[in-house]
């Protein structure tokens, strides 16, 4: 028996799976993450890089175009825009995070309760949410503001948080409903898993990814809301520096053709928002595995 013509039967075959080393950074929003963390860290540690006292009114140098002393110029009240951006960014980001925390907390509670409740209770809650959604946002903000008294950082964060939770809770409710009817939850219940077991071991891990996307997007819209409100004079007063309140001087800037007062804070604002959007889209994990049939 030569030439290998003998029965050897089943043998372990070495499958030379040469898996190509895949670039693990590919398709991930590295640039966005880096930029965003730069902005966040520098804003938090703004004392280290600011060149002037951001709230000091240097009336001699008001509305100065960018130069070596004032990197981004000064505003109509003579404050250094470069320093204000880092200092104000801290407040804008703080409002974004705090209000998102509020939004998420309320949305998760309402969404989870509605998702787990019986059909009738669920319908009632969702109808209420719909009605709340139909109250104009601007109105709620103004009214809540009026009710809370003078606008401050915390009250603004609270107001924005209270207006944003409705649509998020609807998404969470759908998600919970879907997972609740899935077979692994049924299987777990058959094995004797109680409500909290199912909630903790099955519901939570499965909806966290979709909630994460919503959370990032909600930070984004909170920052937009803060800046818009402050810009329109309904949010933070000019003395409290944030990206929005810096831009509320835009009217004077336009008439003085002081482009730097509009451009620089806005660029920082937009960069932050774009980075957040990219991160959010990545978290959603919208990857089409299948290939196009077209």
């Amino acid at each position: 028996m030569k030439d290998g013509f003998q029965v050897v039967g089943i043998q372990q075959q070495i499958q030379q799976n040469v898996v190509k080393p895949q670039n693990q950074w590919q398709g991930k929003p590295i640039l966005s993450a880096l930029l965003l963390s730069c902005i966040v860290i520098l804003c938090c540690a703004c004392e280290l890089i600011i060149t002037k006292d951001p709230s000091y009114l240097d009336l001699q140098h008001h509305s100065t175009a960018p130069n070596s002393q004032f990197l981004f110029g000064t505003d109509t009240m003579g404050r250094d825009i470069f320093s204000m951006i880092w200092y104000g960014g801290r407040i804008s980001l703080f409002i974004g995070f705090v209000s998102t925390f509020l939004t998420t907390a309320v949305a998760v509670i309402v969404g989870a309760v509605s998702g787990c409740a019986s059909k009738r209770v669920d319908a009632a809650i969702m109808r209420m949410v719909d009605i709340l959604l139909s109250v104009p946002d601007l109105l709620v903000v103004v009214l809540l503001q009026a009710a809370l008294g003078s606008p401050g950082v915390v009250s603004i964060a609270f107001v924005i948080g209270m207006t944003g939770w409705m649509s998020m809770s609807k998404v969470i409710r759908t998600e919970v409903r879907q997972i609740r009817n899935s077979e692994y939850v049924i299987a777990s219940k058959c094995m004797g898993g109680g409500f909290f077991h199912v909630l903790w071991h099955h519901l939570a891990p499965n909806f966290i990814s979709s909630v994460m996307f919503m959370v990032v997007m909600s930070i984004r819209s909170a920052i937009v809301a803060e800046s818009t409100l402050s810009f329109m004079g309904m949010g933070l007063p000019v003395e409290v520096i944030s990206w929005g309140s810096m831009l509320s001087l835009a009217g004077q800037a336009l008439s003085g053709r002081a482009w730097w007062m509009i451009l620089f804070p806005g660029l920082f604002l937009v960069t932050t928002l774009v980075c957040l959007t990219n991160l959010g889209n990545h978290l959603r994990g919208h990857v089409n595995r299948r290939h196009s049939n077209l």
């Binding site: 030439d3 040469v18 094995m191």
Partner: protein, 610 residues
């Protein structure tokens, strides 16, 4: 007859980030006008890809790496998209597998068929088009559709949709029809109808057909010639008679042995060990060697060429080489007997474990409408018995299972488990612990029934942790490892997530999870429906083996009659929510009484290899 289609040394690859998948490797075959060629093989061995690459319907990442496709002597391999467009529909057409998703849901069926007529009917008047559509509807047996032109695909059942797809495919009288598993996703009785229709159409229109299937008995019914594919290659090709009566390739032997009808009186189904290889860098030598008990040493070194057996019969195995002749390896004898295994008749005096009486379950669809899914169903399951529940989709089988597991609360009737009325909330609460560990369920879709975000280890030990069972083998992890070995899974899978496993492996995990509680009653809701044939055989063997060892009672829900026949002691047949017949396997399959049962039994493709 001249050759209609010639395929020479065709190779098709997909360029994926993980590497190059060689889906079709060096395939050659020819097809004459009016001939039926069956392509058989397991899932993932390149049958569909082969068909789609001829029609050039593959995504951009696929490319034809080599070889030629000749249509009536003309090389179409390098045809561009616009040239192919003229051929599609007119010269060759295709019927797809998923009849449920293949029709456009937002266009009416009529408009989809007439569109297909119009594309190649240049200068046809509206009346001509209408006449042709009606003609097609008659051809596929949907004449009652011609009145209502505003019917959408969701109005139709799976079988009717498949007929519509056939009408679309036949719209321009193609010379060549590719049928890609056209019956797989359908119920047994519908399968038989569609198969008949295909045969009729084939006879009437004289269309050459490439029929893709994984079911040998279906292939035997329709094919003139048969090609067996494995790992992207044709390993055996010949006339139907030659391939079925004188199979030469060990893979063909395995496929034929795996048919439940050939199980005969043996107590386990034959199954081909292992799984098909991934086609990224396929192994050296014969891809089938690592699953082949007759593998020769040379199989691991060199790929076998095609050996000629007769003028029309070829097989690619070293066993046909001159030098291997002296080994005298022959195809295993198939006991073609279709007689039923005489299973030990369960002792009726034995304790009844589960007693279902007048079970009725009504779903409230809207406030006024309701749907009776289960209607007055009564049956008993004895201790240590395997009870099969069969019926087509929508007949209420799963609802029965879910009522037994207390997932649904029955509208009427009682379910007693060892005398405990589980429909009574008080009794249920009193015996909750016992019931939760003694009854276990396995679902059809292992993909959905395992939490994607848990590791296999955690999934298997979940019921033990829930019931605070102290793991007999020390730690939970050790226990999970033991259970995994028990169901035939390597320990290395413990830390993997379900999505990293194959369908068969996931189903094994689900079984291990259910068995870890040592249940007295195991309910399996279509546990093998979503698996490949060879995997089905493996899982059914596992069930049989485990049941013998543990002695649990087993409610096995399936629509595959042959598996039920092989596995079960007694069978119940459900039809439109009612249990129309119960009895031993011999009785149901030998002397069906109810007309539906008779239809069901007759619809099973008969193994007629003559």
């Amino acid at each position: 007859m001249s050759e209609l289609l010639e395929v020479h040394n065709l190779s098709v690859s997909f360029d994926t980030p993980a590497g190059e998948i060689q889906a079709v490797r060096d395939v050659s075959f020819t097809l004459k006008a009016g001939e039926v060629l069956a392509l058989v093989g397991e899932t993932g061995c390149g049958k569909s890809v082969l068909c789609k690459s001829i029609l050039r319907l593959l995504p951009d990442i696929a490319r034809i790496k080599g070889g030629h496709i000749l249509l009536e002597g003309v090389d179409i391999t390098r045809y561009r998209e616009q040239d192919m467009r003229g051929l599609r529909g007119k010269t060759f057409a295709m019927v797809f597998q998923n009849s449920m998703t293949v029709l456009n849901p937002s266009l009416s069926v009529w408009s989809q068929i007439s569109e297909a007529v119009k594309i190649h009917g240049h200068g046809m008047s509206r009346e001509d088009v209408e006449r042709r559509v009606v003609e097609l509807l008659y051809l596929v047996g949907l004449e009652n559709l011609k009145e209502n032109r505003r019917l959408y695909p969701h109005h139709l059942s799976g079988g009717m949709r498949q007929r519509c797809v056939m009408a679309i495919a036949l719209a321009a009288d193609p010379k060549l029809l590719f049928a890609d598993e056209p019956t797989t996703a359908l119920d047994v009785t519908i399968q038989a109808q569609i198969l008949d229709l295909l045969k009729q159409v084939q006879a009437k229109c004289h269309t050459a057909t490439v029929f893709v299937t994984h079911d040998l008995s279906v292939a035997a019914q329709v094919a003139d010639r048969v090609a067996v594919m494995y790992a992207g290659k044709i390993v055996e090709i010949g006339t139907a008679k030659e391939v079925f009566h004188d199979p030469r390739h060990p893979y063909t032997w395995g496929l034929m042995q795996a048919l439940p009808a050939f199980a005969g009186k043996r107590d386990s189904l034959y199954s081909i060990p292992g799984m098909p290889p991934t086609l990224i860098d396929p192994p050296k030598g014969d891809a089938f060697a690592c699953r082949n008990v007759y593998a020769l040493a040379i199989d691991y070194e060199k790929e076998p060429p095609m050996f000629q057996v007769t003028d029309t019969h070829f097989a690619a195995t070293w066993l046909l080489d001159e030098r291997a002749k002296e080994l005298g390896i022959k195809a295993p004898v198939l006991s073609g007997s279709l007689c039923c295994p005489d299973s030990p008749c369960p002792d009726l005096e034995e304790d009844i474990l589960l007693d279902v009486r007048h079970l009725t379950h009504v779903f409230a669809v809207t406030r006024k409408e309701s749907l009776t899914a289960v209607d007055d169903v009564s049956f008993q399951i004895h201790k240590g018995e395997i009870f099969g529940l069969i019926g087509e989709s929508g007949s209420g089988k799963s609802t029965v299972a879910r009522c037994i597991m207390n997932v649904y609360r029955p509208t009427a009737g009682t379910v007693r488990y060892q005398g405990i009325n589980i429909c009574n909330p008080r009794e249920l609460r009193a015996h909750k612990k016992l019931l939760q560990s003694a009854r276990q369920i396995i679902f059809q879709d292992s993909d959905a029934s395992l939490n994607q975000r848990k590791k296999v280890c955690d999934i298997i030990t979940e019921p033990m942790k829930l019931q605070h069972v102290k793991p007999p083998r020390g730690t939970y992890r050790a226990e999970a490892a033991f259970q995994m070995q028990y169901v035939g899974l390597a320990e290395s899978y413990l830390d993997q997530y379900p999505s990293e496993l194959s369908g068969g492996q996931r189903q094994r995990v689900a079984i291990a999870r259910a068995l870890s509680m040592e249940p007295a009653l195991l309910v399996a809701d279509e546990p093998i429906a979503s698996l490949d044939v060879s995997m089905q055989a493996q899982i059914v063997n596992l069930f049989k083996h485990l049941q013998k060892e543990h002695g649990f009672s087993f409610l096995f829900i399936a629509h595959d009659l042959s598996m039920v026949k092989f596995l079960c002691d007694r069978v119940g047949v459900m039809y439109q929510g009612r249990l129309v017949e119960t009895g031993t396997v011999e009785k149901i399959f030998g002397h069906p009484v109810h007309p539906y049962t008779r239809r069901l039994v007759e619809a099973v493709p008969v193994l007629d290899f003559g």
